[in-house]
C-alpha cells in the first residue's frame, strides 16, 4: 500500500486537476470531460479513505494525534474541492436551453485556460511531453489532449504529441502564445 506521503501528493495534484477539468468541461460543453471529473471524484474518495485509515493507525499519543489530524483536514479539504468541481459539471446535466450562455461565461475572459491546435508542421509533433519538458520550459501545463474523438487527461511525460492534437492548457498568456506559435509551426521549440 502507498505511503501517506504518496497518497497526499496524489490527492493534492488531483484536487488541482479536477478544478481545471471542471471549468474546461463548461467551456467546451463536453459531457465526456464531465464524466472524467466524476471519475476523478470517485478516485479522490478512495484516496482520502486510504489516508484516513493509515493516519489513524499511526497515532501513538496525543501529540502525534494532533499533528496527524492536520493531514486528515488537508485530505478532507481536497475532497471538498473535488465535490465542488463535480457540482460544477452537474450544470451540464441541465437542459441546454436553460444554459446556452454557459461556455461563454469563462472562455472569453479566462486568462488561464487555453486551447492549442497542433499542426503537422510543428516541431513538437512526435516528441514526448517529458522530453519537451513543457512545464519547465513554458510555464504552461497540458491538462488534457483531445485526439480524434477521445481524450487523454492529465497526460504523463511519456505521451507523444501528434499532429491534429488539440491541447487544453493552463498557464500564462505569454506561455500560451509561445506554445501556440510553436504548435502552428511558426516558431521552433528549441
Amino acid at each position: 500500500m502507498e505511503s501517506v506521503k504518496d497518497l497526499l501528493v496524489d490527492i493534492k495534484e488531483k484536487s488541482e486537476l479536477i478544478v481545471d477539468l471542471a471549468y474546461s468541461a463548461l467551456i467546451f460543453d463536453s459531457e465526456d470531460m464531465a464524466r472524467e471529473v466524476e471519475n476523478l471524484e470517485r478516485e479522490m474518495d478512495d484516496l482520502v479513505y486510504k489516508v484516513r485509515i493509515k493516519t489513524m493507525l499511526a497515532a501513538n499519543n496525543i501529540k502525534e494525534a494532533e499533528q496527524l489530524s492536520g493531514i486528515l483536514q488537508v485530505a478532507d479539504a481536497a475532497k471538498n474541492i473535488a465535490n465542488a468541481a463535480t457540482d460544477i459539471v452537474y450544470l451540464l446535466d441541465l437542459d441546454i436551453t436553460t444554459r446556452p450562455f454557459l461556455p461563454s461565461l469563462f472562455s472569453k475572459a479566462d486568462e488561464k485556460l487555453h486551447v492549442v491546435m497542433v499542426s503537422d508542421k510543428s516541431g513538437i509533433v512526435n516528441r514526448t511531453i517529458g522530453d519537451l519538458n513543457v512545464e519547465a520550459e513554458t510555464g504552461v501545463r497540458i491538462i488534457a489532449i483531445k485526439r480524434g474523438k477521445g481524450w487523454i487527461y492529465d497526460p504523463e511525460g511519456d505521451v507523444r504529441i501528434k499532429s491534429g492534437d488539440i491541447l487544453i492548457i493552463r498557464g500564462t498568456e505569454d506561455g500560451y502564445k509561445f506554445l501556440d506559435r510553436v504548435a502552428r509551426g511558426e516558431e521552433s521549440w528549441d
Binding site: 501517506v4 495534484e13 478544478v19 488537508v74 436553460t98 461565461l105 519547465a136 505569454d174
Partner: protein
C-alpha cells in the same frame, strides 16, 4: 464578477497549499482575508442574478450563475480549511510539507528588491515563464492584490510576487527577486 471570484478562489488554493510548505501563518492569514472578498463577491453575484431574473422574468440564467458561484464559494472554503492547519499552534506533520513539495508544481513567493533585475520591467519583457519555468500568478502590492497579471503588468520594487512552477525553478526565482542573481 464570476471570473474575479474564480481567480480569487484559485489563488486561495495555491496560497493555502504553499502556506503548508512554508508553515507560514502570514500566507494562511492571507487566505482568510481573501475569503472575505469571496463572500462579498458571492453576495453581490446572487443579488445581481436575482435582480436580472426579476427584470427579465427568466429564472434559469440566475439559477445557473448562483449554482456556479456556490461551487466556487465551496472551493474557497476548502482553501481556508487547508490554511487553517497552519493557523493552529501545532506544527503541521512533516509529511504534509514533503508531499506538497514533491508535487509537480510548487508555489513560491519573492519580494522584489530595489536592485532586482525584475524591478520596473513588464512581465512581458521579463518572459519569466519561458526563461525560468516560474510564472507569476498574482502580485501583492502595498496591501492590495493583482490577481491576473498580464504581460503589460510592470513589476515594482516592494512587490511580492506569487509564482508557480517546478521546484527546481524556485531558488533562481527567489534570487532574481532579491537581486542576488543578475541574469534571468
Amino acid at each position: 464578477m464570476l471570473i474575479e471570484m474564480k481567480n480569487i478562489s484559485e489563488l486561495m488554493i495555491d496560497l493555502a497549499y504553499s502556506s503548508l510548505i512554508y508553515n507560514n501563518r502570514e500566507i494562511a492569514e492571507e487566505v482568510k482575508y481573501l475569503e472575505e472578498k469571496i463572500d462579498e463577491t458571492y453576495y453581490r453575484i446572487q443579488e445581481e442574478a436575482i435582480r436580472q431574473a426579476v427584470e427579465e422574468g427568466n429564472v434559469s440564467k440566475a439559477l445557473v450563475i448562483i449554482r456556479l458561484a456556490t461551487s466556487i464559494e465551496a472551493i474557497s472554503d476548502s482553501a481556508v480549511q487547508i490554511a487553517d492547519v497552519v493557523l493552529r499552534d501545532i506544527e503541521p506533520h512533516p509529511v504534509i510539507k514533503e508531499s506538497i513539495k514533491e508535487s509537480d508544481v510548487t508555489i513560491t513567493l519573492g519580494k522584489v528588491s530595489e536592485r532586482s533585475v525584475l524591478a520596473n520591467k513588464t512581465l512581458g519583457e521579463l518572459n519569466l515563464a519561458s526563461e525560468t519555468g516560474m510564472w507569476v500568478i498574482a502580485i501583492k502590492r502595498k496591501g492590495r492584490w493583482i490577481f491576473g497579471p498580464t504581460e503589460n503588468t510592470v513589476v515594482l520594487p516592494g512587490d511580492i510576487l506569487i509564482a508557480k512552477g517546478p521546484l527546481e525553478g524556485v531558488k533562481h526565482f527567489k534570487n532574481l527577486c532579491s537581486g542576488r542573481d543578475r541574469t534571468i
